[in-house]
């Protein structure tokens, strides 16, 4: 309503956030939170493996260093930039929600930032002083300690961000008490943390094994040993992964229920939810098989064996994120702001007067027969474009979702759509209720009908620019403001 609408009409706006965020979670969990303790543990093994006159087993140490180098390069490039990228993309796609969250959670994010700065400084020290620390046992042990500190800090960054994430999903609390404490005490915080911690370790172990198959020479004792250790690491964490995943899986529907004020679940959620069950079973058993194989026949393990489980555990993490995102709907901030970025409290006003009157950017304010389709386009941009595309080939395109109901390729009926839209949130509980008035609904369905006929697409403001609502430009707002002041002054004068 108040922000120019960035819009990707093919990829879908949410998809942009999803790609960046999932990549970030993979790197953060798999290559930082889980990987650093794994590497530190292996570095320590090198010291205990050393012969009497050595500080550490240099050949081993070098292998571990190489693995760390990969993690270091990836985390400080793709990892760091996707972290910033989440901010950037959310600011583009969902400015009202992230803007609201940041007003409330400024301190949480500020603390998160301080922890994050520490984490980055520690990772720089840990990696860049690695080779120099091999000169004395004291230096090496100190270096290993740095590894453990770094492990703790990367875990803390995750623990804080999970609270912030948790808060956003916590239904109701936004309206009562806007404190971060609710993030830590909300029902899915602990399950999430208990799931994410061992899963990060698992992903790190599998990824570490994959790197071993790349860096260690085939047939060597050292390679077999490294693979065995990875197997042990995976087996040690698997029980906790399973417990965490099942715990999290069990609390999901109740979180869902509370968010969707009226329904227990929707089909789409149920589909994801069932899929998740198979992913838990699949990822766990595949990892156990891989780890068992690694312990029994470490020499047989090569890249080809590890890559599939590796992709699978990353997928495991990814699908959990997808379901978590789904729980949030139809809200973006529980019971406060819908995923179309409108606040629930403003709905009565929009329903009474329509949304275009209050939109900052729209070319139409009075709907006539002539400008109806254009008005529909403005309504679409303000109400639907965060999740739906116009381009018929686009992800979750509006024509496709209607055709899926009314028949693929069938001409859409304006009357049916008009009957459906105001009620859709009752059946499809992940949809926010329609916010506009009756004329805007007419305009919206006329626009959707035209999209189906012409196959047109919708340009976002990043290319098309904005048209300023003539009711809400600087001149009009000043006039109204002045009139109000004069009115107030006369009131005071009369009294």
């Amino acid at each position: 309503m108040d922000f120019p609408m960035f819009h990707l009409d093919w990829l879908n706006d949410r998809f942009l956030i999803a790609v960046i965020a999932i990549l970030h979670v993979f790197i953060n969990h798999g290559l930082a939170v889980g990987f650093i303790p794994y590497i530190t543990w292996l570095e320590q093994k090198g010291v205990s493996m050393a012969s009497a006159n050595q500080i550490t087993n240099l050949e081993w140490d070098n292998l571990v260093y190489k693995k760390m180098k990969v993690a270091f390069i990836i985390t400080t490039t793709i990892g760091a930039m996707t972290g910033v990228g989440i901010w950037f993309s959310v600011a583009l796609v969902s400015p009202a929600s992230i803007g609201s969250l940041i007003r409330v959670f400024y301190w949480a994010w500020f603390i998160e930032w301080l922890v994050f700065v520490t984490e980055v400084v520690l990772i720089l020290i840990y990696f860049l002083t690695w080779k120099n620390s091999n000169t004395s046992l004291k230096a090496k042990l100190r270096h290993i300690n740095f590894g453990w500190y770094l492990s703790i800090f990367s875990w803390i960054t995750m623990a804080i961000i999970v609270a912030i994430l948790g808060f956003m999903m916590d239904p109701g609390n936004w309206n009562n008490e806007q404190t971060l404490l609710n993030g830590f005490t909300n029902p899915i915080y602990l399950p999430q943390l208990l799931f994410r911690t061992p899963t990060a370790m698992l992903v790190a172990g599998v990824f570490g094994m994959l790197l071993t198959t790349i860096f260690a020479k085939r047939g060597t004792e050292m390679r077999a040993k490294a693979i065995k250790f990875a197997g042990q690491w995976i087996l040690a964490w698997i029980p906790l992964v399973i417990i965490g995943a099942i715990y999290y899986w069990n609390v999901m529907p109740s979180a869902m229920k509370e968010n969707m004020a009226t329904a227990i679940g929707s089909q789409d959620f149920a589909e994801y939810y069932n899929l998740l069950k198979y992913f838990i079973i699949g990822a766990a058993s595949l990892s156990v098989v891989l780890a068992g194989f690694a312990l029994l026949k470490p020499k047989k393990i090569n890249f080809a064996y590890v890559i599939v489980p590796c992709l699978f555990v990353f997928g495991f993490l990814g699908i959990f994120e997808r379901v978590r995102e789904f729980i949030r709907k139809p809200y973006v901030i529980g019971n406060y702001m819908y995923s179309n970025l409108l606040r629930e409290e403003d709905y009565p006003l929009y329903k009474r007067d329509g949304i275009l009157k209050y939109a900052t950017y729209t070319s139409v304010t009075e709907i006539t027969e002539e400008n109806k389709v254009q008005a529909g386009k403005d309504v679409f941009m303000n109400l639907c474009s965060r999740c739906h595309t116009v381009n018929p080939q686009g992800v979750n395109s509006i024509v496709y979702v209607f055709e899926r109901m009314y028949g693929i390729g069938q001409p859409l009926d304006e009357g049916s759509m008009k009957a459906y839209i105001p009620n859709m949130h009752n059946g499809r509980t992940y949809m926010p209720p329609y916010a506009g008035n009756e004329q805007e609904l007419d305009a919206l369905v006329a626009y959707i009908k035209q999209i189906q006929q012409t196959g047109e697409s919708l340009e976002g403001v990043q290319t098309a620019g904005v048209e300023v609502n003539p009711l809400n430009n600087a001149v009009e707002v000043s006039k109204r403001n002045e009139a109000k002041k004069i009115e107030n002054d006369t009131k005071i004068a009369k009294n």
Binding site: M1, D2, F3, P4, L16, I73, T76, T77, I78, A80, M81, T82, V84, W87, F88, A91, L92, P95, G99, I102, R103, V104, Y106, W107, W109, F110, W113, F116, V117, V120, A263, I264, Q267, D346, P348, L349, K351, R352, Y406, G407, S416, A419, Y420, I421, N423, M424, N426, G427, V461, Q462, T463, A464, G465, V468, N472, A474, V475, V477, S478, N481
Partner: protein
């Protein structure tokens, strides 16, 4: 007047700032300066590395020098990114409407920052770790750095375009994408001033970095001495400071007048004088004899650090001035809307209460349930998404229980209709009313 018709007045988020404004502003300015110093070192370091490595094709010592600087880029860039988060948070909080609007209007370029910077970072690692690999293919190796520098030179344009555009809501209605926003006056002068700062700060950094006692110059270089390298540093700083002064003056003259005040001019002049002071001593060091190489280092460094505060301060003052009037309008508009929204909320509550108070028959109630939950997909006598109500009535004529069971947890019978969602949220009373309505549709 024409401009004002095109000036949008959005409503602000109806949430208070988390901190007093002055504190947020201080956090913004200070954290931004920390961020920009490391950005300067990253961009300046990359330019110098590229320059030195090209010179290194003829003089091997410069290649070694380039390698030494290259090692600092990857560290400085990590700190630059992490330091950028705090000013980003603060500007988002303080100037939510302005910053996000500018981001969206230049959206494509804005999001491209992420992949582009990632690629540039990966290139700097590739460059650093392949120094000996490409020993005999120096041109390719230099090409890697050249690409990274090209990206590093482009990214600041996107940032500058955004922080510039956010100050001019009157331009939002006319801007069409990044390129048109880039062309607003004042972006390019600020950009070249920034590049000057990158060189100046990196030059000073090189002097300091190579002056550290623990840094084994003699082991690293064969011909270069500490003094040679320090002199290179001072020369770079001299070039950078000169650029800053020239473009700083141009910035002053191209700044749109709406945010300018005597105070802004005073602070900018102070900043200019500090730069001139640093430039004078930097130049004096370059032309002086070797033994005086460290004589003015402190003066130059302190002058440049003070300059940064003046620079950060004047930016914030200008931004504050240029947005002040608009922010008042935004506040008025927000208050107006809040009042209307509250009235509408109360009105709808009254309507709901009236509605609840009117007595209703069972059939009416059933129709109400139907309209709320079913009407989206079912019509009385034609197929919509699902079958018509008349058909349901004939199927379940004497079987109310099964109808209710289906509504709560439907199966799938028809190939030509999508799966119906279940409605377990309906109470038994609602189900009774609904089935009454369906079965007696005729």
């Amino acid at each position: 007047m024409l401009l004002q018709i095109n000036t949008p007045v959005p409503k602000d988020l109806p949430l208070d700032l988390p901190l007093p404004e002055w504190l947020l502003v201080s956090l913004l300015v200070i954290s931004f300066l920390l961020h920009i110093i490391f950005i300067n070192l990253m961009v300046g370091g990359s330019i110098i590395t590229l320059w030195a490595q090209i010179k290194g094709l003829k003089n091997k010592e410069y290649d070694v020098f380039a390698h030494e600087i290259a090692k600092t880029i990857t560290v400085n860039k990590s700190i630059a990114v992490v330091m950028g988060v705090a000013p980003l948070l603060s500007i988002n909080t303080l100037y939510t409407i302005y910053f996000y609007s500018a981001n969206a209007l230049t959206g494509f370029a804005w999001i491209m920052i992420i992949p582009l910077v990632t690629i540039a970072f990966l290139l700097t690692y590739l460059h650093k770790y392949t120094w000996s690999t490409f020993e005999h293919n120096r041109k390719l190796h230099i090409g890697i750095m050249g690409l990274a520098v090209a990206i590093f030179l482009f990214i600041p344009l996107i940032f500058l375009t955004n922080v510039n555009l956010m100050m001019f809501p009157e331009k939002w209605g006319t801007v069409k994408g990044f390129l048109s926003a880039l062309m607003l006056p004042n972006v390019f002068p600020r950009y070249f001033e920034f590049l000057g700062a990158c060189l100046a700060i990196t030059g000073i950094f090189i002097v300091w970095y190579n002056g550290r006692k623990s840094y084994p110059i003699e082991e690293i270089y064969t011909n270069f001495t500490r003094n040679t390298i320090k002199k290179i540093g001072y020369s770079i700083a001299t070039v950078g400071l000169s650029l800053q002064i020239i473009f700083g003056v141009i910035v002053l003259f191209t700044l749109p007048s709406k945010g300018i005040s005597y105070a802004v001019i005073a602070v900018m002049t102070g900043a200019g004088l500090l730069l001139a002071y640093a430039l004078w001593y930097s130049y004096k060091t370059v032309v002086s004899e070797g033994k005086f190489i460290d004589l003015h280092f402190k003066k130059i460094t302190i002058a440049v650090l003070c300059f940064l505060f003046f620079y950060g301060g004047s930016r914030q003052m200008y931004r504050h001035n240029s947005l002040e009037k608009h922010q008042e309008l935004v506040a008025a508009h927000t208050a107006e809307f809040q009042k209307l929204s509250k009235e509408a909320r109360e009105q709808s509550l009254v309507l709901q209460q009236q509605e609840a108070a009117t007595p209703k028959t069972d059939a009416d109630l059933g129709k109400g349930v139907f309209n709320q939950y079913c009407a989206a997909c079912h019509k009385k006598d034609v197929k919509l998404v699902g079958p018509p109500v008349t058909e349901m009535a004939s199927i379940y004529q004497s079987n109310k229980a099964d109808l209710q069971k289906w509504i709560k947890a439907p199966g799938k019978k028809r190939a030509d209709a999508p799966q119906m969602p279940g409605f377990p949220q309906l109470s038994q009373t609602e189900l009774e009313q609904l089935s009454e309505y369906i079965l007696n549709i005729n």
